[in-house]
């Protein structure tokens, strides 16, 4: 029987085509199955899902009510946001943010000169995009622009220069977003190179460099930033004659930058130590000088593995800038705190609104930094997956 089948393929009872595989049972594929497997795949999983959904149902609707549905969008003073018969429930008072928006951005920077701050923000944005977007052309020029031209131009733009026809705007007038951006930008830009130098110094075999780096790093890490800023603002003026006393903002900038550098140094050192010794020995065996070895072999790899830590350092630094309030500077958060106590806008929800606005602002910046770092990480990790 079997022989006849194979010898005559035209017999009608033989299946000619390959049968298409039948679909798996409906409870194993499709959205329902996905939900079953991922959300309700066991006692623990199911209870976790239920708890989280309940939690979200408890938290999200009131938050949305406050931020969006009950919010007040227009108004010129507290009348718009107080509780009365016309509006017994008042959510976020966005009218307040709108009214004080320019104060949050510029602080007490003189109004006729505020275009200079706008121009600075624009120049900074160009620099950031040019440096960070890998597909843009001539990124070497971008680096020159961002690290040499921009700081010099910004200095004269923001401080002013009578010879260029820009009136001087002393830093005590700066405030809001401007101060936050300037302090964090300087901290971020200075801390990486300085941190690398300190990390190399710490691992160096030259005793002087090593002792200095270790002492600096350990001293700075052993003292809270707030203490250093406080010393700079309270003690320094007592010991330095009036004429040589550095500007308040400058004191804060130096403090923050040195601080960030010490922490950055430890992050970079972790990366240096993570590299196998063979990399160093291989580089030396090729006859590379110390500089070439670091520049071409060691640092690219070390920095690559430390990107997540570097970025979380930057994020921490960005948020730490709020501490400059200790020196009497009006950073972004401080301008909100100042505006919310203004009796013109005294209403029950004005303070929460201010803080929600601050939270959104800091979240956007920090999330942007971490997202960018993630894409860079993915790009660099392609080499490992090959």
């Amino acid at each position: 029987m079997s022989q006849s089948v194979s010898s005559n393929p035209n017999q009608s009872f033989v299946q000619q085509d390959v049968i298409a595989p039948s679909r798996p049972p409906s409870n194993l594929v499709g959205p329902v199955a996905w939900v079953r497997e991922h959300l309700f795949g066991g006692v623990f999983n199911t209870s976790a899902t239920i708890l989280i959904v309940l939690f979200l149902a408890w938290v999200v609707p009131p938050f949305l009510d406050f931020v969006l549905f009950d919010a007040v969008w227009v108004g010129t003073d507290r009348e718009a946001c107080i509780f009365n018969e016309a509006h017994p429930i008042v959510g976020a008072c966005w009218a307040f943010i709108k009214d004080r928006f320019s104060f949050f951005n510029y602080g007490t920077y003189p109004i006729p000169e505020r275009w200079r701050v706008d121009l600075f923000f624009a120049l900074l944005t160009i620099a950031v995009i040019w440096l960070l977007k890998l597909s843009l052309p001539r990124r070497d020029l971008g680096a020159l622009y961002a690290f040499i031209i921009l700081p010099v131009v910004s200095y004269f733009l923001l401080i002013g220069s009578p010879t260029l026809g820009l009136p001087i705007v002393t830093t005590n007038l700066w405030g809001g977003l401007l101060v936050t951006v300037v302090v964090s930008a300087v901290g971020i830009v200075v801390s990486l190179p300085l941190g690398i130098l300190l990390a190399l110094g710490r691992r160096s075999t030259m005793p002087a460099a090593q002792v200095f780096s270790v002492a600096f790093i350990e001293f700075v890490r052993g003292v809270p930033l707030i203490t250093v800023l406080f010393m700079a603002s309270v003690m320094l003026p007592l010991f330095v004659p009036r004429e040589f006393e550095p500007d308040k903002l400058l004191r804060a900038l130096v403090g923050v930058a040195l601080f960030a550098s010490a922490y950055m140094a430890e992050v970079v050192r972790a990366g240096l130590q993570a590299l196998p010794k063979g990399q160093y020995e291989g580089a030396m065996a090729l006859g590379l000088s110390y500089g070439q070895m670091m520049r071409l072999i060691i640092l690219p790899q070390a920095l690559k593995v430390t990107i997540p830590n570097i970025v979380s350092n930057y994020i921490g630094l960005f948020k730490d800038t709020t501490l400059v309030v200790i020196v009497g500077l009006f950073d972004f958060l401080r301008t909100i705190e100042t505006a919310r106590i203004d009796p013109i806008w005294a209403a029950p929800t004005v303070s929460p609104t201010g803080y929600v606005y601050a939270a959104i602002f800091y979240f956007i910046f920090c999330f942007a930094m971490s997202s960018y770092a993630r894409t860079i990480e993915q790009r660099l990790s392609k080499a490992d997956k090959r």
Binding site: R100, F103, G107, T108, F230, P237, E245, P348
Partner: protein
Amino acid sequence: MKKWVATAALVAGALMGASMASAGTLDTVKSKGQVVCGHGQGLAGFALPDAQGVWRGLDSDVCRALAAAIFNDPNKVKVVPLTSKDRFTALQSGEIDVLSRNTTWTLSREASLGLEFAGINYYDGQGFMVRKSLKLASAKELSGASVCVQQGTTTELNLADFFRANKLELKSVTFATNDETTKAYDAGRCDALTTDASGLYSERLRLAKPDDHIVLPEIISKEPLGPSVRKGDDQWLDVVKWTQFVLVTAEELGVTQANVEAMLKSENPEIKRLLGTEGKFGESLGLTNDWGYRIIKHVGNYGESFERNVGQGSPLKIARGLNALWNKGGLQYAPPIR
């Protein structure tokens, strides 16, 4: 080590002394072209940047009046925002010329911190706020009441003293920050809220229903607030002191920002001396003789400044109370200009 510290202190002292002694503050201010004025980091009604970022308030007006007297331009003020910790250092080190930052005049501050108070531009003191529904007329009826208070402040101490002195039973509920204290009171955690009276008025606006609350008339502590200057520069002290007196005198004589031009032709000898049309009082202070006129023209008199910043012209609506003129039941009194 000890020797080293002593030497450092000596050098620092010498440098400070040198920078201070080199020129009087008034001359320094004139050569800088601006008055450097120490403010707080924002207090409603006293010194707070408005939406345009310009500092406004009762304390700001002191500095604006100084700038008006010296430069005939109230905007020649450089504001240095100071925390309560670094305010005195800033004055001692010469970073600021005048501290106008709702600072209470006390003996220890004047005796040991190297500063000199030039006057009192606001008589503050601790008060109580309660719900109208409690139908209380006096703080002495607060026996057994729970009182919300910020912890670790002199406010807490004054509260305990007041209740003990009046043999009242106190249940204080303490909170770490001002915000929490107000919120708790608004939520009904306590019957009364206590802090400085000026603060009570601004906190009241923050409540869900401001009109349901009243500030009781009793003031249980003395908090005279005023501008202060460095010790050892009497000329500058006089300038700040008499600028404040000009504001008060102008109110007493009915000279306002609006009628000051007309008042220049007044025959009243007191007004003539105030506005500088008679005598050389401004010059004897190191200013110009029309300094009084400049102050009123640019800033207004004390009453105008009060109403504009904390009184009926502002959302705070603080009653004049102790800050009324001496002949109207208050304490604001200026020695004669003559």
